[in-house]
């Protein structure tokens, strides 16, 4: 829509002199910044009203509009949400899953990529093909059978179910590491071999330190994914003391059905850590997102 208006403006220039140029410039300016402001408003307003609502008392919430600012800021909703909503359990379990999954992903991903990039062996092409094909299978479609496997392994309702699933389904990490490894010269390995280093030493002392950049990418991208994961914990860890941050928030749907201020406070508690991470690591996040597609 907006692009079309810009064409119309563009065509007019041929007829006018400097006056038309001015009009065109002003119009272009208005369209450009107008659309950016509109986009910003659409992105921010839904979240802004949640922040506003989260500071209101229940009484005030019921009697004032969503856009009117609270008269005095109350943190009661936050305390209720955090304590009664078992947010602490949620954060604890989320952090446990996060740490175990990330360490595992980085180790397994670099190991697999090291072997696939540096050695030639019979099964290499097959393994590469298996990893590539797996990217085609959307995880959610195989849940029906995955559930039976997790259950059969006795991992249902343990924190390990989600950790193991995070490790087993991360194919993109291997690909990102492979791309980076291609650019690390093999002559480095060869020099180390001349000095008597074992292949394991090469992996640990040369490859791992040089893979720091893609590790940060994966840390951020998978980290956000793990923090926001709802479905796996919801399906595999239903026990109340195994709540993660997403499922703890989801549980607000029942008991707090109408107590909006508390729900809104819960929402803010959940998105605050991500917001802080985003503000401090913006550049890495952008690079990571575009890197994960290539």
């Amino acid at each position: 829509m907006k692009l079309e208006t810009e064409t119309v403006v563009g065509k007019k220039t041929t007829t006018g002199v400097s006056n038309a140029m001015m009009v065109k410039k002003v119009l272009g300016f208005l369209i450009k910044y107008g659309s950016l402001l509109l986009g910003t408003a659409v992105a921010i307003v839904p979240v802004l009203v949640v922040i506003i609502g989260s500071f209101k008392t229940k009484q005030e919430f019921l009697t004032t509009g969503v856009l009117s600012l609270p008269k005095s800021f109350t943190f009661d909703n936050y305390i209720t949400a955090f304590v009664d909503g078992q947010m602490l359990t949620g954060f604890k379990n989320t952090i446990l899953i996060f740490v175990a999954s990330i360490i595992g992903k980085l180790l397994l991903g670099t190991m697999m990529a090291y072997v696939l990039d540096r050695f030639d062996f019979k099964m290499k092409k097959v393994i590469l093909g298996l990893f590539l094909l797996a990217t085609l299978i959307p995880g959610i479609t195989t849940q029906v059978a995955t559930f039976q496997i997790i259950n059969g392994m006795g991992l249902f309702n343990t924190i390990w179910s989600v950790i193991v699933l995070n490790l087993g389904t991360d194919v993109i990490a291997v690909y990102i590491f492979l791309q980076y490894l291609k650019n690390i010269p093999v002559s480095l390995d060869e020099a180390a071999i001349l000095e008597g280093a074992s292949y394991f030493t090469i992996y640990r002392k040369i490859i791992l330190p040089l893979l720091k950049a893609p590790m940060i990418t994966i840390l951020i991208i998978s980290g956000v994914g793990i923090y926001n994961d709802f479905y796996n914990p919801f399906l595999y860890m239903p026990s109340p003391d195994l709540k993660v941050i997403s499922t703890a928030l989801f549980a607000f749907k029942g008991p707090y059905g109408t107590d909006w201020p508390v729900i809104l406070a819960g929402v803010i508690i959940v998105i605050l850590p991500i917001l802080i991470v985003f503000l401090t690591l913006q550049k890495h996040i952008y690079n990571g997102v575009s890197g994960s597609v290539k």
């Binding site: 692009l3 563009g10 450009k32 659309s35 950016l36 986009g39 910003t40 992105a43 921010i44 307003v45 839904p46 979240v47 009203v49 949640v50 969503v66 856009l67 991903g109 190991m111 697999m112 090291y114 072997v115 050695f119 393994i127 298996l130 085609l136 299978i137 959307p138 959610i140 479609t141 195989t142 849940q143 029906v144 059978a145 559930f147 496997i149 490790l167 389904t169 292949y199 992996y203 956000v224 923090y227 926001n228 709802f230 941050i245 499922t247 928030l249 729900i263 809104l264 819960g266 959940v270 998105i271 991500i274 917001l275 985003f278 913006q282 996040i285 952008y286 997102v289 575009s290 597609v293």
Partner: protein, 294 residues
């Protein structure tokens, strides 16, 4: 000491086996084995618990395609399918605007991207609050003097899927935006300068420089969007639980398996979806390869 040291050949074999065993095992266990089991289940009437199951041949597949209740949910996917194109259009527009000189470029970029990082459950609540009676949307419409447009955004069957699709655009637009921005920025800036000297306006630059160079990326995003729109799950599941005609195929599948204990039928449904997604993806691979060859 020396005699205990493995030669490089032995070492090589050892490290290949050691480093690839676990990643490969997890890949097979959680990506391929579920697939294999699902094919088996899909020809049975298994309920997920009972030790016995009967072979029912193609009954489950016939049921999916002949019972409107099961197949009609694909209609809901159409809303998300169309939303994909709106989403890509908006993303492309903002990516283009931000490629050229804009004040506060990083600010706009951050704001437009950040919804993508938010927790799905939090987004569910944010938009329940946004759409509820007297909520954010109603307030904004009243403020704009458009009270007559107010309706039951999530209850009205003729509109609730549009509300859901909008939420999906709000959540995922930032992802496409960052991908497009990265692709456009990798175009050599000298090309624009040359075009500008030749008198090309912004629209012409967009049409003749930007579009052709990012065509593959746009195509990839369309395919990701199509398979995404077929496997929509969390937004409708969290917001309405699939009630009032907002059930998607994945919600239907998950409910069939875990609520109604029809694992056999659910497996067949998941496989139907999987096949559609794989066909779409392969089509993309095929088409981009064709183009690349020319």
């Amino acid at each position: 000491m020396n005699k205990f040291k493995l030669g490089y050949n032995g070492q090589r074999k050892l490290i290949i086996v050691l480093f690839s065993a676990l990643p490969l095992f997890l890949l097979l266990l959680f990506s391929y084995y579920p697939l294999f089991r699902m094919v088996q289940y899909s020809f049975t009437n298994w309920n997920g618990i009972s030790p016995t199951r009967d072979n029912v041949g193609f009954d489950n597949y016939i049921k999916i395609f002949t019972t409107p209740e099961y197949f009609a949910v694909f209609k809901v996917s159409l809303y998300y399918f169309f939303a994909t194109f709106v989403q890509l259009g908006i993303a492309l527009y903002f990516a283009t605007v931000l490629t050229f000189k804009v004040k506060f470029a990083n600010f706009w970029k951050g704001i437009l991207f950040f919804p993508y990082l938010l927790n799905g459950v939090a987004i569910g609540f944010i938009f329940l609050y946004f759409y509820k009676g007297g909520g954010t949307l109603d307030t904004v419409l009243t403020f704009l003097g458009m009270e007559d447009q107010i309706r039951l955004w999530l209850g009205d069957r003729s509109f609730n899927n549009i509300s859901m699709a909008f939420t999906s655009i709000w959540r995922y637009m930032g992802f496409n935006f960052i991908i497009f921005l990265g692709a456009i920025q990798s175009i050599d800036s000298e090309i624009y300068e040359a075009a500008e000297i030749d008198g090309a306006n912004r629209w012409q630059q967009f049409l003749y420089i930007i579009m052709p160079s990012i065509k593959p990326i746009i195509f990839l995003n369309i395919i990701l969007g199509i398979s995404g729109s077929l496997s929509v799950f969390d937004i409708p599941y969290i917001m309405t639980g699939g009630s009032n005609g907002t059930k998607t195929f994945v919600i239907q599948t998950i409910d069939t398996a875990f609520k109604f204990s029809k694992v056999g039928l659910a497996s067949a449904m998941a496989l139907v979806l999987l096949i559609i997604v794989i066909v779409v993806t392969l089509l993309q691979q095929f088409l981009t390869r064709e183009k690349g060859a020319k």
